[in-house]
């Protein structure tokens, strides 16, 4: 019997070496890059103001507003979960800092720190409840979404008597905080909002963590096959709770940006619907909705597509009413391109 077995050391000659091109095309973010290039060229032709270098800063700013949150949302999706409360959590963070600092007349930074604690706690709660109950993240975070949405409005009205938080623009610590979260840099004629720089930094760090560290390996593993990951000793619960807390951290940061860019006022109803924009950015960027595959850079490209389409419609002089329909179409196209490119690369 043993003699009839083909020696396994003989290399399997059915597998030909893959070309560099095919390997490049198998990267998760490649589809979104192609999509982004197509959209860029399209608007360069269709919308003359799009070609103006001065508008580049504005486009990047729109992208960064989505992109900052797309970073943890992409990581979470690669880890096999998603978070519907991510949009309103941003508002919760801004409101917490603003209302607390104003009501207790303390330094703005005390409110900022409290908002950080609250945001991390919301993330930890999401993750803990998910791991504890084993329910799908859709249900758990849908619950948190409504809880936060309700609390945002109710607590704001209770403390400030209005639907927005009181302005904290004349309080101690406001200037330094605004400088960190919402200042601008002028480079020639281009105005670069500081959140763009933060966004690039966050993407770089998160991409590095995902691809080059043990934690990153574990994120792929818990999303790809949680049971398999657990069996080889990966602390699945800790990784997933950590990912939800990362969403909390970035929601805190985005909330601070929101608070300080609007001169210390946050509208309590803001943020509803944003969670889908973050998820869309991640999916367009090549993250698999079922987990285990994706890229942080792809999520950033997804956010860039969002920013380009949103402003491209305006620059082209079209009625902004068309934006969402146009956006949806663009996103579908980008996703299909993504899928086609991926399938073709895998078939090689």
């Amino acid at each position: 019997m043993a003699s009839s077995i083909t020696s396994p050391t003989t290399a399997d000659d059915r597998v030909a070496a893959r070309s560099v091109g095919a390997r490049l095309l198998s990267r998760p973010e490649i589809g979104s890059l192609v999509g982004a290039a197509v959209i860029l060229v399209f608007f360069l032709i269709a919308a003359p103001p799009f070609r103006d270098i001065n508008n580049t800063g504005t486009i990047l700013y729109q992208a960064a507003l989505v992109g900052v949150m797309a970073v943890p949302v992409a990581l979470l999706m690669i880890g096999g979960e998603f978070d519907l409360s991510a949009g309103v959590a941003v508002t919760t963070s801004g409101l917490t800092a603003g209302l607390f600092a104003y009501q207790l007349s303390v330094n703005v930074w005390v409110g900022i720190l409290l908002a950080l604690v609250v945001s991390l706690a919301v993330g930890a709660f999401n993750g803990w409840l998910l791991m504890r109950t084993g329910l799908p993240s859709f249900l758990v975070t849908l619950g948190t979404f409504f809880i936060l949405q309700g609390l945002n409005i109710a607590v704001t009205r209770l403390t400030s008597g209005a639907v927005a938080s009181n302005s904290i623009s004349d309080m101690d610590g406001f200037r330094t905080a605004q400088w960190i979260f919402a200042s601008e840099i002028h480079l020639g004629g281009v105005t670069i909002k500081i959140i763009i720089l933060w966004w690039i930094l966050f993407v770089a760090i998160a991409a590095w963590v995902l691809l080059k560290t043990q934690i990153g390996n574990w994120i792929f593993a818990v999303g790809g096959d949680a049971a398999a990951a657990r069996a080889v000793g990966v602390p699945v619960k800790k990784v997933k709770i950590g990912l939800f807390m990362a969403v909390g951290f970035f929601a805190w940061f985005a909330g601070m940006q929101l608070l300080f860019v609007q001169n210390g006022v946050v509208q309590s109803g803001e943020g509803v619907g944003k969670e889908f924009v973050f998820i869309i950015a991640a999916v367009v960027g090549g993250c698999l909705l079922t987990g285990g595959y994706g890229s942080v850079v792809g999520g950033a490209v997804g956010a860039l597509i969002f920013g380009m389409v949103q402003l491209g419609v305006v620059y082209a002089g079209w009625n902004p009413d068309w934006f969402k329909a146009f956006l949806g179409t663009m996103l579908l196209l980008a996703t299909i391109v993504n899928l086609m490119v991926k399938n073709r690369a895998e078939a090689r």
Binding site: I5, D12, T213, Q214, G216, N217, D225, A228, A229
Partner: protein, 288 residues
């Protein structure tokens, strides 16, 4: 990290030390007794085959040893010490590695990332993955086992069933397993690939590892096994050494023995012409 060589020498010193010993172990899920009074010894350099039909309790047994479930009655000792595992990590830290039927490999991750999953090598203060070393070691270990995977960057999901099995086994051996639990390693494989996997099982045994080989194929079990335990409805129905049993006896025992005989008669009564006697009986009658 302990290498396989050192186990080989340990094994040479004490070839029959039981590493894992189960005494009267039982497991109940509520009012369902999945496992009752199971005793089992796993020795270094031996292959213990656990056979049984679907639902006989094989999975429950390995889950207890692998630390996925705790047992409810009896005792389990590892290296002479009574243990209750509360997580797979504890089982792994005691030198017990399990290669599951679903292989515990993340399909979309590359071969080398899977190989080192949970045991990643890092360097530098920031804990950067030492990719070069991991790829090199993974390639070495796989070559040592005689597996050729040209591109370690390709996702594990694209490997063949036999290759996946071998990656999982090579991984367990590399990370210093003293006991290797193989859950139906040949169940989904063709004849050639089964042969390849069985050869690795033997290699693992020769390296001084105690192997628990779970299967419902008596032919595969008899090719490599030193010791056979047949489970039936959560109890041990047979516990014997290779010297005391033939393949035919083992097959009969596995197939249900007397129960199969009864079934044959029953079916013959239903359709006298359509049902033939099992081949084995025919042979025996000819001999008589």
């Amino acid at each position: 990290m302990t290498t396989t060589e050192s186990f080989a020498s340990e094994a040479a010193n004490s070839p029959t030390t039981p590493i894992v010993h189960l005494e009267d172990v039982g497991k109940s899920y509520g009012n369902v007794h999945a496992l009752r009074g199971v005793s089992l010894s796993v020795r270094q350099g031996e292959i213990t085959c656990v056979l049984g039909d679907n639902g006989a309790g094989k999975s429950t047994l390995i889950k207890i040893i692998a630390g996925l479930h705790d047992y409810t009655t009896g005792t389990m000792s590892v290296n002479g010490e009574e243990r209750h595992f509360s997580s797979p990590r504890e089982s792994l830290d005691s030198g017990i590695a399990t290669v599951y039927q679903d292989l515990a490999l993340a399909p979309l991750m590359s071969v080398w990332r899977n190989f080192f999953l949970g045991n990643e090598l890092t360097k530098g203060p920031l804990g950067r993955l030492d990719e070069r070393a991991m790829k090199r070691i993974a390639q070495q270990e796989l070559t040592k086992m005689g597996i050729s995977i040209p591109n370690l960057e390709q996702p594990v999901g694209k490997l063949s069933g036999g290759q996946k099995q071998c990656v999982a086994i090579a991984r367990a051996i590399h990370f210093g397993a003293k006991v290797l639990i193989l859950d139906e390693p040949t169940a989904a494989l063709g004849v050639n690939q089964s042969g390849v996997v069985l050869k690795y099982v033997v290699k693992a045994r020769d390296a001084g590892i105690g192997v628990i080989f779970i299967t419902h194929n008596p032919h595969h079990a008899y090719l490599v096994g030193n010791h056979f335990v047949v489970l039936k409805l959560g109890r041990v129905a047979l516990d014997t050494h290779r010297a005391d049993i033939t393949l035919e006896q083992l097959t009969t025992e596995m197939a249900g023995g007397s129960e199969l005989e009864a079934l044959t008669h029953e079916l013959r009564d239903l359709a006298p012409d359509a049902v033939q006697k099992p081949k084995q009986d025919v042979v025996q009658e000819k001999e008589q």
